[in-house]
């Protein structure tokens, strides 16, 4: 396909992206509707947060896009990023279509791991249902609307009823000076009683260049299913990153979302957990470490729509240099959601006076028979801790490293996916040392570090721990 010239994000672009992907008219219409919202909405809708909007402005106007896609040779593009032993992985280089490697075993079980547009060809009705029932709704957020209007790629993952996967499914996005923004629409579905672990990774290679990576990810845990989703963002410091996630958790289902963010110049992330079924359980872990002039704008909300639901989300971040972060979080418990428990925490450490962080937790609760707590703090490195460690012979740098890296642990150690947990430690240490590292498998990790320090596991229930002190 000949490459179209770059334009700004206008209505014409919506039509040409949709046409270039050969989409059915209902999808084009859905895009146009989203485009209407994109134009109409302000960057920040919530009056609680508007005063911070300028600091974390995305400045979309800087970017231009085009329909059509460049072709890449996956093998050479991903050289150095894969061991060659991967299976059950989706690869995406820039905005090109997703390349899927699915083992025969999983495909025989009916597992689908494919690009959104291939899925559209195979099961248009299923995709149509998902688009119709989107959790990341255009009317709620300008940037959700942006992705819903302009997506030029996407993934579709579905694990059928009762299928339990013991190994993670992976998706790796690798950027190398993309000519047009990468705008993804992703769907991950665990049907009833299915179990899946999903690792999403985002990296940049080559010379840093201004780029835009935007995505919406819809994660649906049907009744009694279990999804552990993790995301690692290590884009280069010229890249703007937008993410919008919705997790819908049905009856007695369980969904966790672990996110490690180290890269990008500006990163804006929205995660909404919808505890839609009785007995549903959701847990979020937001871990970030910024330096230079990075700006992170994070929001996580727990929406309890059903009784007996349990939700928790914890953010831990460390800021160096002139970086800035804001964490917003809301617990919303509707009238019908009695006996629900909810916990929201945001704890940030700033290493230099030039770094800045705000936390805005809030509650909106319409039922008295619930437990809900939130907490937020911004701390500096404790001088008494440093003295204690240096009085045990640790040189000041090593003492500081230990305290700072330890700060992540109470949240990091709870990340349910071992590979993400160990990999996150390795990458955070890397950032501390000033080197870029990626998620690796255990063998590579052992080869690099020689040994793994035993983990501390806090066994207590965070609700108990918290209520003890109330």
């Amino acid at each position: 396909m000949p490459q179209a010239s770059l334009t700004s994000f206008d209505e014409g672009l919506v039509g040409s992206i949709s046409a270039s992907l050969g989409e059915p008219s209902w999808l084009t219409d859905a895009r146009l509707e989203a485009f209407g919202q994109f134009v109409a909405l302000p960057p920040e809708k919530n009056p609680l947060y508007t005063k911070y909007a300028k600091t974390f402005d995305i400045a979309l106007d800087r970017f231009k896009a085009a329909a059509g896609r460049s072709e890449i040779d996956f093998r050479s593009f991903f050289t150095g990023y894969l061991t060659g032993n991967e299976s059950d992985i989706l690869l995406q280089g820039n905005e090109t279509q997703v390349h899927a490697e699915l083992s025969r075993d999983l495909s025989s079980k009916g597992v689908e791991l494919t690009s959104l547009h291939d899925a559209l060809g195979q099961d248009e009705e299923a995709v149509r249902e998902l688009v119709r029932g989107r959790l990341v709704k255009s009317e709620t957020d300008k940037y959700a609307a942006f992705v819903n209007a302009f997506f030029n790629c996407g993934t579709f993952v579905r694990v059928p009823r009762g299928v339990v996967l013991d190994k993670p499914l992976r998706k790796m996005l690798l950027l190398d000076s993309p000519r047009t923004p990468v705008i993804e629409q992703n769907f991950i579905v665990a049907e009833e009683e299915a179990r899946l672990v999903y690792l999403e990774e985002q990296y940049s290679k080559g010379v840093p260049s201004p780029a835009l990576v935007a995505s919406t990810t819809e994660i649906l845990a049907r009744p009694n299913s279990h999804i552990d989703f993790s995301s690692i963002q290590l884009l280069d410091d010229q890249t703007t990153h937008l993410s919008n996630r919705g997790l819908g958790v049905s009856n007695d289902a369980r969904a966790t979302m672990s996110s490690l963010s180290l890269g990008a110049s500006v990163s804006r992330s929205r995660t909404n957990f919808y505890l839609n079924g009785r007995g549903s359980f959701a847990e979020g872990f937001e871990i970030f470490f910024t330096d230079g002039e990075q700006r992170y704008d994070y929001e996580t909300n727990l929406v309890h729509n059903s009784p007996d639901s349990t939700g928790s989300t914890q953010a831990r971040g460390v800021l160096k240099g002139k970086s800035q972060s804001i964490f917003k979080g809301m617990i919303k418990i509707v009238k019908e959601a009695k006996n629900s428990r909810s916990y929201l925490a945001d704890h940030v450490m700033i290493l230099e006076r030039t770094a800045k962080s705000d936390g805005i937790p809030s509650l909106e609760i319409d039922n008295n028979e619930v437990k809900a707590t939130h907490s937020a703090s911004v701390v500096q490195v404790d001088e008494e801790q440093l003295f204690y460690l240096t009085a045990r012979g640790l040189p000041p740098d090593e003492a500081k490293r230990m305290v700072v890296l330890g700060f992540f642990e109470p949240v990091l150690s709870r990340v349910p996916i071992e590979q993400t947990r160990e990999g996150a430690r390795f990458m955070i240490e890397g950032k501390w040392e000033g080197e870029k590292r990626r998620l690796v498998d255990r063998e590579t990790l052992l080869a690099a570090t020689g040994e793994l320090t035993p983990e501390v596991k806090e066994s207590e229930d965070i609700f108990e721990r918290h209520y003890k002190y109330r």
């Binding site: 801790q385 003295f387 700060f407």
Partner: protein
């Protein structure tokens, strides 16, 4: 080999607390330092270890004749100094295991190859056994949620691993019940060899039943005003601190000086 403190004056935030302390501890000796609240005992401990808030304004702290004044705490550790904290600091997220390993590696002589993780596990297991401590200690965050007794035991465990030449034990007996006191005191005896010189800071005589000092010093208003043998501690216990300055309890309350640290 000696830890010598000569005419030491030190201030905290501009306020002079130590007003000319003289003390000499040789390896193999145990000294007890007693005195009322606010007399400067903990200030002396922190100053010897090099806490950044404590400024030496004059005088000397010498180890084997070499001054350590001005050296950062980690360099003092290399010279063989150790401080058991009165209030050990907790650090969430740092496991006891990795902390002890770092402390062990950093207190070893330069040039020696650090042990592997497996070798270190053996080293620490032996010390835990010595102090009747459970291995599950290692899988907790540093002092986080520790009871008073656990914290003090953990301090002695660190001393056992670091094998200092001179140990300052700052109220290691405070906050302990009788059983815990005995365990901790026995621990101190087990880990201090003939090569260790100890300065035991305490309010009370009770720990001295288990850890026998050869020398007892009494601190008051930033100075050591009386030194003697073990009998001095008994006398103090009987008569109280007011006696030492010639005050009689029934007549006059002791003067309030300094600040409690």
């Amino acid at each position: 080999m000696k830890l010598e403190i000569k005419e030491l004056h030190a201030s905290v935030e501009g306020k002079e607390i130590l007003k000319g302390v003289n003390l000499s501890v040789s390896q193999g000796e145990t000294h007890a330092l007693m005195g009322p609240n606010g007399s400067g005992k903990s200030t002396l401990a922190y100053t010897v270890m090099g806490h950044p808030k404590y400024q030496v304004t004059s005088g000397e702290i010498l180890i084997d004749g070499e001054s350590v004044v001005g050296l950062p705490p980690d360099k003092r550790v290399k010279k063989g100094l150790f401080l058991a904290f009165q209030y050990p600091v907790s650090v969430q997220g740092v496991s006891m295991f990795s902390f002890l390993r770092a402390a062990y590696n950093n207190s070893r002589p330069a040039g020696s190859e650090p042990p592997t993780i497996f070798e270190f596990k053996e080293v620490v297991a032996e010390k835990l056994k010595l102090l009747n401590m459970d291995e599950s200690f290692l899988n907790r965050y540093l002092n986080e949620g520790f009871s008073g007794g656990e914290k003090k035991k953990a301090e002695i465990l660190q001393m056992a691993l670091m094998q200092p030449k001179f140990a300052v034990l700052d109220e290691t007996d405070s906050g302990l019940d009788i059983d815990a006191l005995r365990v901790v005191a026995e621990g101190i005896n087990k880990v201090s060899g003939p090569q260790t010189g100890s300065l035991l800071i305490t309010h009370y005589q009770r720990i001295l039943k288990y850890v026998k000092p050869q020398f007892v010093h009494v601190m008051f208003e930033g100075r050591i005003i009386e030194s003697g043998g073990e009998e001095l501690s008994r006398l103090l216990e009987e008569k109280g601190y007011t006696w030492i300055r010639g005050y009689r309890e029934e007549e006059q309350a002791p003067p309030q000086v300094g600040q409690t640290l």
